[in-house]
Amino acid sequence: MTPALVIAAHGSHLNAESSTPTYTHADTIRATGAFEEVRESFWKEEPSFREALRTVDADEVYLVPLFVSEGYFTEQVIPREFRLEGWDPDLWRSDGTSATHATLTAEDTGQTVHYCGPAGTHDAMSDVIVQRAESVTGDPDVGEGFGLAVVGHGTERNENSAKAIEYHAGRIRDRGRFDEVQALFMDEDPEVDDVTEYFESDDIVVVPLFIADGFHTQEDIPEDMGLTDDYRLGYDVPTDVDGHAIWYAGAVGTEPLMADVVLERAADAGADVDAAIEQVRERTSGANPTAGD
């Protein structure tokens, strides 16, 4: 029997669109036929983490967390709720952004689970951030004359959350495509509120490293950056702030190329999905962002 792919995402009791990117990326992967079964599962919606595996036929499962960073959800909640026997964060031997996978058994179903590192820390995520900058500017060559801000929540509860942001900012900076690249945060310095102070470039693309659009990406960040006084009134892309054009991208997780990162995670854990990766990359480069509110 061929292995299945299970995606674990947060979901929401309050926001109907929180799960939309998860479903959309899962559909993209389904269309490749790389897995006979692709199952979405959620912390706050159904199927719940606790019951997702029993709805899957396969004896072998690639489990990919659609989360931004290693930390509370990937190290505690998901392994506990999926009942991964013998889980220990040390199995990932990660420095906070380098988790690949660990193979375990689910206690209640007996399935073999290749538990992968989160989508957000995969190297391919850097490409999605860049792709997002291309999507929002409508310019496949965007870079020269532009600054790029990668925005994260901050380290309120988990220091790895900032590490993931800095990791991708560093990787993209090293490529030299953008004139400047900065990691900014909502809840700690350097703060996204002062975005224009961190850039000399006239044009700044701001990409929040969040999976779904919601309260933070749609309300807090646009208001904090001064794009609008009231998010309900909307804002232009770009918006002029202190003499800089701010190209605000919304959650990077809604970028179609994100489906590729999920597949890359499974591939790193041993799944035979090379052809699917190629197909997804071709189909999603330059595609429009997925619907989300």
Binding site: L14, E46, P47, S48, E51, D57, Y72, D108
Partner: protein, 363 residues
């Protein structure tokens, strides 16, 4: 009759077949073939092919072994839909000709059979049982159920898929077996798996206490509400959240393995095996609210005003407040009545009876 059915039968015959009133046995290099309608012995492979060619019993065997999903729970669910454990094939096929109807949550599933023995399924909302098919929006892709399940008839988000608020006005017609199960599972995730486990005596129930014990992060606080001081608080939780009026799963979890809750678990077709994320999120809020001590307030209400307060709570708790007609001032929870009570009884700071709350819990 498909040649596939006969080929498959001949390929399997050497191992013997006994399924739904069909028996095929090997006798040396010959075969015996038996149904309630006919019995043959000493058949050559060619004879077996001839006998099998027009048999509804063979088509039936083929459907269940080559077409229907082979995972035990999905297979059992499909068998249940046509009452296969209780009804002989011959009368089942008659029934399926007319369509065998079952309800699953708010779904109405109709199973039918075509001339090749293949089952086809139709799904619509139970409240649309009598609706004209042309009046319902038709869907073919099981994934369309995702959007249908997302919002109620008023467009409000449904975080709980098993809430009895599924909207009407749609139908899925002519689904193959695998698509039927996927559609049902999209409306009610894991319902087939847990129903099957229960039937097999294998449902893994995680009771309240155990569920609360494993909570961490912002939900860890619920443990402080659960310190061996009885389980009345859990009765309240179950009464609030797990009633049939709020969730169509049948609650099978109790306080712990030894202590049953006093509140009925409901009549749902499929079981609920542990407190869900909505229950835990609500319990977190109640844990915080229930940490306050009571205090005595004194204010005056007329008897009718006291009853009106009770009526408002009832209407909101039962989800009736939005349905009360604008001019129906005979209803306690009518908006004009509520506004009058507020105008008369609240001071400028919103205090009932002009009595300050005087919170001393830091909130």
């Amino acid at each position: 009759m498909h040649g596939d059915h006969v080929d498959a039968l001949v390929a399997t015959a050497p191992d013997g077949i006994a399924f739904d009133d069909l028996r095929v046995d090997r006798e040396g290099d010959r075969y015996a073939f038996e149904t309630p309608e006919e019995t043959h012995g000493a058949l050559s492979e060619g004879d077996l092919r001839d006998v099998a060619a027009d048999s509804a019993y063979v088509s039936n065997w083929y459907f269940w072994h080559a077409v229907a999903p082979q995972k035990a729970d999905r297979w059992a669910f499909l068998r249940w839909l046509e009452d296969a454990d209780e009804t002989a094939l011959e009368s089942r096929l008659d029934d399926l000709g007319d369509g065998v109807v079952s309800e699953w949550g708010q779904l109405r599933v109709t199973a039918t059979v075509d001339d090749e023995g293949e089952r086809r399924y139709h799904v619509r909302h139970a409240d649309d049982a009598r609706a004209d098919a042309a009046a319902l929006t038709a869907h073919e892709d099981p994934r369309a159920a995702r959007d249908l399940a997302k919002h109620d008839r008023r467009g409000r988000y449904r975080p709980l898929k098993s809430a009895p608020t599924l909207r009407t006005g749609w139908r899925f017609a002519d689904l193959a077996a695998a698509d039927l199960v996927e559609t049902v599972e999209t409306f009610y995730p894991a319902s087939v798996a847990n129903w099957h486990r229960e039937r097999e005596g294998d449902l893994d129930i995680t009771h309240w206490h155990e569920t609360v014990e494993r909570q961490t992060g912002i939900y860890g606080v619920v443990k402080t509400w659960d310190r061996g001081e009885g389980y009345e608080h859990v009765n309240w939780v179950a009464e609030a959240c797990c009633d049939d009026s709020q969730c169509l799963k049948r609650r099978e979890w109790h306080y712990d393995g030894e202590t049953d809750l006093d509140v009925d678990g409901g009549d749902g077709r499929f079981p609920c095996r542990e407190p869900c994320s909505v229950v835990i999120a609500a319990a977190r809020q109640w844990t915080k609210l229930e940490s306050e001590d009571t205090r005595t307030y004194e204010f005056e209400l007329t008897p009718s005003e006291k009853e009106q307060v009770e009526g408002i709570i009832e209407a909101v708790a039962d989800g009736r407040a939005g349905d009360i007609r604008e001019a129906d001032v005979y209803e306690d929870a009518n908006r004009y009545r509520a506004r009058f009570l507020r105008a008369k009884q609240f001071d400028e700071d919103g205090n009932l009876g002009g009595v300050p709350t005087d919170r001393d819990d830091g909130e």
